[in-house]
C-alpha cells in the first residue's frame, strides 16, 4: 500500500472558504458539487470561479465522484498492427473540493482495491481530496451505521473542512481546516492562516455528536447485517426480492465502491476508408483499441460463459451477490471495513425499490419474526 497519509495534523482557522478555493485553483483545476436550475446536484469540473461552492448542508449528489478516479469508460491500450501500447489517461492536477465523509471512505476503499491498477492510480495521484464534515443527515444516508461518517474519517482526505459556527446574521462562518497529509500541507503553503487549537478540535467532536444524534433509527440495517453474516436470510426471500430487479445497473453505477468492469474492442477507422458499410469486424483490420467500461454483477450476462453455463443464472443469486459484497464480514480482513459506506444512493436509483433500505428492512422484518 502506498503511504498516502503520514499522519500530520496541522490545524487552522478560516473565515472564508473562497480564499482557500482560490488559492487551490492556482494549482489545481477545481471539481466541486454544483446545483443546476432544478436543484440537481452534480460533481462538475469548473473553470474560473463563477459558482460558489455548496457547503454545509444536505448536498450529497446522486452521482458519486467515482468516475473521476475510475472512469466510466477509458481506453486501456491500442494495437497498431504490430504491438500493443498502453494508453494511460492524460490528467492534470485536480482538487475535489468538498467531498463528503461517505464518499471519502469509498475512495479509501477503492484506493485499496485498485492499488495496483495503473489507470486508477494515474488519476488518483493527481487528485487532492478536500473533505467536508456533514452538518446534518442526508435523505437516505446512514453512514453512522457503517462507520463512514458523518464527519470525515481519519486517513481519508488531504484537507478536512469543518464548520465550527454559523453566524446567520451576517452569513459568515468559521471553518476548521485540518491538513491531514503531506500533500494537504503543501497545498496550502503560502496561505496565511490562523492556527486552531484543541478547543476547536473539541468543538468539532461536539458537533459530530450532535449530527450523529440527528440520524433516525437505522438499527434495522445493523440487524440485517448480522442476519446476512450468519447466513440466516432464506433463499426464498432473495427470490422474492429479485423479481423486482430489472437489471438496470443503477445500483452498481452509483455505488461509490463498486468496481467491476468489462472490456471491449473497437476497430479504428482507417482514414482512407471513411465509411464502413459492413458491420462485420474484418480480420485484416490492423488497428484497434481496447476500452474498459463499468459493468454490473446484476446483469444476467455478467458471468455467463461461452458454453451457456451461468454460475449466477438466477436473479436471486445476483441480488444476493451484491449485498454479500457490500456487507459480508469476509471482506473485512482485506478492507478493514464493509463495502457499503452508507450513502443510500442505491435506494434512490433502484427502479424496483430494492435499494439498501428496502432490502435491509425486509431482511430485518423477516428474520426477526
Amino acid at each position: 500500500m502506498i503511504e498516502r497519509y503520514n499522519i500530520v495534523n496541522n490545524r487552522y482557522l478560516l473565515k472564508d472558504l473562497g480564499v482557500l478555493k482560490h488559492h487551490l485553483a492556482k494549482y489545481y483545476s477545481v471539481v466541486q458539487i454544483q446545483k443546476d436550475a432544478d436543484g440537481e446536484k452534480l460533481w462538475t469540473e469548473q473553470f474560473g470561479d463563477k459558482i460558489e461552492p455548496l457547503f454545509g448542508h444536505n448536498h450529497l449528489p446522486l452521482t458519486s465522484p467515482k468516475g473521476f478516479l475510475f472512469a466510466e469508460k477509458e481506453v486501456l491500450y491500442k494495437f497498431d498492427g504490430e504491438t500493443f501500447k498502453t494508453i494511460l489517461p492524460q490528467v492534470q492536477p485536480k482538487v475535489m473540493f468538498g467531498v463528503q465523509a461517505c464518499d471519502l471512505s469509498a475512495i479509501a476503499y477503492q484506493d485499496k482495491f485498485f492499488e495496483h491498477d495503473p489507470y486508477y492510480q494515474k488519476r488518483r495521484e493527481n487528485i487532492l481530496l478536500v473533505g467536508i464534515d456533514c452538518e446534518s443527515p442526508c435523505v437516505t444516508g446512514f453512514c453512522v451505521q457503517v462507520d463512514a461518517g458523518p464527519h470525515v474519517k481519519d486517513n481519508t482526505a488531504d484537507l478536512v473542512l469543518s464548520r465550527l459556527n454559523v453566524d446567520d446574521a451576517n452569513g459568515s462562518s468559521e471553518w476548521l481546516v485540518i491538513a491531514a497529509t503531506e500533500k494537504g500541507i503543501n497545498s496550502i503553503k503560502g496561505m496565511t492562516l490562523d492556527k486552531a487549537d484543541n478547543k476547536h478540535l473539541k468543538l468539532r467532536t461536539k458537533l459530530l455528536e450532535k449530527v450523529r444524534s440527528e440520524f433516525v433509527d437505522y438499527s434495522y440495517i445493523s440487524n440485517a447485517i448480522e442476519y446476512l453474516n450468519n447466513n440466516s436470510v432464506p433463499a426464498q426471500l432473495w427470490e422474492e426480492l429479485s423479481v423486482r430487479c430489472l437489471g438496470c445497473s443503477g445500483c452498481t453505477n452509483l455505488c461509490p465502491t463498486c468496481s467491476c468492469y468489462t472490456t471491449y474492442d473497437v476497430v479504428e477507422q482507417q482514414p482512407e476508408k471513411p465509411v464502413s458499410i459492413s458491420r462485420e469486424v474484418k480480420l485484416e483490420v490492423t488497428k484497434s483499441e481496447t476500452i474498459r467500461c463499468w459493468d454490473s454483477c446484476l446483469f444476467e450476462g455478467f458471468q455467463k460463459e461461452a458454453s451457456g453455463h451461468n454460475p449466477s443464472q438466477k436473479a436471486a443469486q445476483r441480488v444476493e451477490r451484491f449485498w454479500f459484497h457490500k456487507f459480508s464480514d469476509e471482506y473485512l480482513p482485506e478492507f478493514q471495513r464493509y463495502g457499503c459506506v452508507g450513502c443510500g444512493r442505491c435506494e434512490q436509483t433502484c427502479p424496483g425499490t430494492i435499494g439498501v433500505h428496502s432490502v435491509m428492512k425486509r431482511i430485518d422484518q423477516q428474520c426477526c419474526s
Binding site: 468516475g67 465509411v275 464502413s276 436509483t349 427502479p351
Partner: protein, 700 residues
C-alpha cells in the same frame, strides 16, 4: 480534458426519463440520472444507462453517400441535395405529388417532425407523410378519437402512485417502460391492488394480486365479459354514465351475451378471477388502467382500444387523479411525431387534413399552396411502389426493413422506388438499400423537444457536436427546401424558431416556449390560455367530443389461428435490454451480452414434446417466410405459444408475422400468427438472415 454535463432526455422509450449527458473531448462518456426529474426521479433503466454506447459508436455515418454501381461513394452535401431535389421535382412533374413522400421518425425531435410534415405538405404538396406509429399505437389514436376525442394518455405517470387499483392489459412495462413498471411495483408495495391481463407471465404478472392469463387475441371477449359482470352486479358508476357518457343501454344489452361461462371458455381465464377483477377495478376509488401493444397489434386493434375505453367509462375511472386510460407508447417521441402531424390525415395538433379551413389556415401561414389529396400511410406507399405508382421516398431514422411486418414486401416496395433516401445515424439494413444516405445528428448533438407518453414536452440540449458533416434533420429539410425552390419557406436558424412557429399554429401548444419548458421541467399539453401550466389530467369535466361514446364491439378471431400445418401460436415481444431495431442498444457490449442465446421462447413442455434441447437451432416458419434461430426455454409463455423479440436482424420476426390489417388503421396483426418449428440437426448453428452486403438490395 475537461468534463461537461448537459441535461437531456433519454432517447429510448416514451417514459422520457431525465439524464445528464457527461461529455469530454466531444465524446459522451457517461450518463447520470437526475433526482429532480419529475418522472424518473433519479432512476433509469438499462437502456437509459447505456445511452453513451448508442451515440458514439464507431460506425456513425459522417458524410453523405450516394450509390454508384451498387457501391456507396462519398459525395458533397450540395451534390446529394441537388440530386435529390432534381429527382423529386421530376417525379412530381411526371407522376404527380402522390408519387413522393416522407417517413419521419418517432425518435426525432418535435422540431424535426414538424419540419418533415411541412416539407411534405408545403414543398412536395403531398400528404404522404407517416412515421412508425402504424406499428405501435395507431389503433389507440383511432379508437380513443372515436370514444373520447383524443388519443393520448389521459393521465400522468405519477398517477400510478395515486391509484388504489392498477390494471395492466397487454403491456410489459417493467421490460418496455421500466420506470413506469417500477412505479407500478412500488404502488403494489404501498398496498395498491395490481391486476395483469397478459398471455405471458410477465414480471408484473409474477407480483400481481391477480393475473388473468388469457388466450392470445381474446381481449375483447375478456373486456366485454368484465363489463357484463359489472352491469350484472350493478357495479357501474351510474352517476358518471348519466353525466358523461352515451350509449350505455346499447352496450349493456350487447355485453349480456358475454356470460362468465362463455368468456371463461374463450379466454381460458377462471370465472371467479374475472369476477374478482371486475369488482376490484369497478369499485376502486381510483383505478389506473395502462395498456400496450398487446391491445393494439391485432386486426381488431381499434376495437380492442374501444373495449378498453368502454370499461373505463362505465366505471367512471377517468377524468380524476389516479385513474385514466393510459396507452404506454413505445418510442421516445412517438407522441410528438403524431402531435406534429406526421400522419397522412392530420396537421399538427390533430387538425384534420381533410378540413378545407385547416388547409387554408396553414396555406396562409406558410404562404404557399398545400397538399390537397388524401395521403398514404407508410404501408400504402410501399404498396403503391410495388405497383409502380410511388417513386421517391425520404426515410428518417427508421429501419422498416427490420421492424415492419412482412419485411419481404417492404423490401420489394423500397426496391421498386426510383429514389430512396435514408437519413440515419449508421448504416442500417434499410440504409443499405438506399440510393442516397445522409448522415444525421443524434439527439445528443442537437437542441429540441421530445414529448413523452404523458404529453410532457421536454427540452433536450446539445452535449457534443455531430460527427463529420452530419446534420440535424430539420436543417437537412430546410436546405432541401431551398434546392427545391423554396428559399424562405423553411429558412429557420434555430430549433427554437421551428418550435415557436409550430406553437403559433396550434392550440394545445400555444402556451409553450423554450423558456417556459425549461422553467417548468417540461409542460404537458394542452398548454394554452385555458391551461397555462399544462394539463396533468385530461377530460376532468368534459371530453373533446362532448359525451364519451360507449361503442359495442365484438370478439373476433385473430386473422390466423393454429392449424395442422402451422400448429403453434406465435407472438412478438420486446426485451428489456433492447429497443426498436437495436441499432443503438446493440452497440453496448453490456446489453448485447444480455441477449439470450436463443431468440425463440418456448415452454419447456413443448420443447420436451418436440425432443428439443435448450439452445438448439430450429427453423420457424409461417405462411410468409421462415427464419432460423435457437430456442430458449421460458416459463413466461404457456404451452402452445412461442414468442420472439423483434430487435434482431439475424432473426427478424417480421419474416413471419402477418400483415393482415386492422381495417380502420392498417395496423398489422403483429402480435399473433400461426407458425411451425422444425429442429435443425443438433450441432448445426442457425443461419443469420442479415443482408449480405450493401450492394445487393435484399437476399432471401
Amino acid at each position: 480534458m475537461s468534463q461537461t454535463q448537459v441535461n437531456s432526455i433519454c432517447p429510448f422509450c416514451g417514459v422520457g426519463c431525465g439524464i445528464a449527458l457527461v461529455a469530454s473531448d466531444n465524446n459522451i462518456t457517461a450518463v447520470q440520472p437526475l433526482s429532480k426529474h419529475p418522472i424518473s426521479q433519479g432512476k433509469l433503466c438499462a437502456k437509459g444507462w447505456n445511452t453513451p454506447f448508442g451515440i458514439n459508436h464507431h460506425d456513425r455515418l459522417t458524410q453523405p453517400l450516394m450509390k454508384v454501381d451498387g457501391e456507396f461513394r462519398v459525395v458533397s452535401w450540395k451534390h446529394a441535395l441537388s440530386h435529390i431535389a432534381e429527382n423529386l421535382k421530376q417525379f412530381i412533374c411526371e407522376s404527380g405529388p402522390q408519387s413522393v413522400g416522407l417517413i419521419s421518425s418517432a425518435r426525432a425531435t418535435n422540431e424535426d417532425n414538424y419540419a418533415a410534415q411541412k416539407f411534405a405538405r408545403a414543398v412536395l404538396k403531398t400528404n404522404n407523410i407517416d412515421h412508425c406509429a402504424r406499428i405501435c399505437h395507431s389503433p389507440t389514436v383511432a379508437g380513443l378519437k372515436k370514444t373520447l376525442g383524443s388519443g393520448a394518455m389521459t393521465n400522468s405517470i405519477d398517477d400510478v402512485g395515486k391509484a388504489d387499483v392498477i390494471l395492466v392489459i397487454g403491456a410489459d412495462p417493467t421490460e418496455n417502460h421500466a420506470i413506469i413498471g417500477g412505479k407500478i411495483m412500488k404502488a403494489k408495495l404501498r398496498g395498491a391492488k395490481l391486476i395483469v391481463v397478459d398471455p405471458r407471465q410477465t414480471r408484473l404478472a409474477k407480483v400481481a394480486d391477480l393475473h388473468l392469463q388469457l388466450n392470445i387475441g381474446t381481449n375483447i371477449a375478456l373486456l366485454n365479459g368484465l363489463l357484463n359482470i359489472i352491469f350484472a352486479h350493478g357495479w357501474q358508476n351510474d352517476e358518471f354514465i348519466a353525466r358523461r357518457c352515451e350509449g350505455a343501454d346499447a352496450l349493456k344489452a350487447h355485453v349480456a351475451d358475454y356470460t362468465v361461462e362463455k368468456v371463461s371458455v374463450i379466454t381460458g381465464v377462471d370465472g371467479a378471477d374475472l369476477v374478482k377483477a371486475a369488482k376490484l377495478y369497478s369499485q376502486a376509488n381510483a383505478a389506473f388502467l395502462a395498456y400496450g401493444m398487446g391491445i393494439t397489434q391485432f386486426v381488431s386493434g381499434t376495437n380492442n382500444v374501444i373495449a378498453v375505453s368502454n370499461l373505463a367509462l362505465i366505471c367512471g375511472q377517468i377524468g380524476r387523479e389516479g385513474t385514466g386510460i393510459n396507452p404506454l407508447r413505445g418510442q421516445n417521441n412517438v407522441q410528438g411525431a403524431c402531435d406534429m402531424g406526421c400522419l397522412p390525415n392530420v396537421y399538427p395538433d390533430y387538425q384534420s387534413a381533410n378540413d378545407e379551413q385547416v388547409r387554408s389556415k396553414f396555406s396562409r401561414a406558410w404562404q404557399t399552396e398545400v397538399a390537397r389529396l388524401p395521403g398514404l400511410t407508410s404501408l400504402g406507399m410501399s404498396h403503391q411502389a410495388r405497383h409502380g405508382n410511388f417513386r421517391g421516398l425520404l426515410i428518417f431514422g427508421e429501419d422498416p426493413v427490420v421492424t415492419d411486418p412482412d419485411r419481404n414486401k417492404v423490401a420489394q416496395g423500397l426496391r421498386a422506388m426510383d429514389l430512396l433516401v435514408v437519413i440515419e445515424l449508421s448504416m442500417t439494413e434499410t440504409a443499405k438499400m438506399a440510393d442516397i444516405v445522409l448522415p444525421a445528428a443524434s439527439f445528443a448533438e442537437k437542441r429540441g423537444t421530445f414529448t413523452n407518453c404523458e404529453r410532457r414536452v421536454q427540452l433536450i440540449h446539445k452535449a457534443v457536436s455531430p460527427p463529420g458533416e452530419a446534420k440535424i434533420d430539420w436543417q437537412i429539410l430546410s436546405e432541401l427546401a431551398k434546392e427545391m425552390g423554396f428559399p424562405e419557406l423553411m429558412n429557420w436558424q434555430t430549433s427554437e424558431q421551428v418550435f415557436d412557429e409550430m406553437c403559433k399554429l396550434t392550440d394545445s401548444f400555444s402556451g409553450m416556449s423554450y423558456p417556459r419548458l425549461k422553467q417548468n421541467n417540461g409542460l404537458q399539453w394542452p398548454c394554452n390560455n385555458e391551461y397555462p401550466d399544462g394539463s396533468r389530467c385530461l377530460h376532468s369535466t368534459t371530453f373533446p367530443i362532448g359525451k364519451g361514446k360507449l361503442i359495442p364491439v365484438y370478439h373476433v378471431l385473430t386473422d390466423e389461428v393454429p392449424d395442422a400445418e402451422y400448429p403453434y401460436w406465435f407472438t412478438t415481444m420486446r426485451l428489456h435490454f433492447h429497443y426498436g431495431c437495436g441499432s443503438m442498444t446493440r452497440q453496448s457490449p453490456l446489453l448485447e451480452r444480455e441477449t439470450p442465446i436463443g431468440l425463440l421462447f418456448i415452454h419447456p413442455q413443448d420443447a420436451l414434446d418436440l425432443g428439443l434441447k435448450n439452445h438448439q437451432g430450429v427453423t420457424v416458419s409461417s405462411r410468409r417466410g421462415c427464419v432460423e434461430t435457437r430456442i430458449e426455454f421460458s416459463n413466461q409463455v404457456s404451452p402452445g405459444l412461442l414468442s420472439m423479440p423483434y430487435h434482431f436482424k439475424e432473426a427478424p420476426s417480421n419474416f413471419l408475422t402477418n400483415d393482415a390489417m386492422d381495417p380502420i388503421t392498417e395496423m398489422p396483426e403483429l402480435k399473433v400468427c400461426a407458425v411451425n418449428i422444425i429442429p435443425l440437426p443438433e450441432n448445426q448453428p442457425p443461419r443469420s438472415s442479415v443482408l449480405s452486403d450493401a450492394g445487393s438490395r435484399v437476399s432471401q
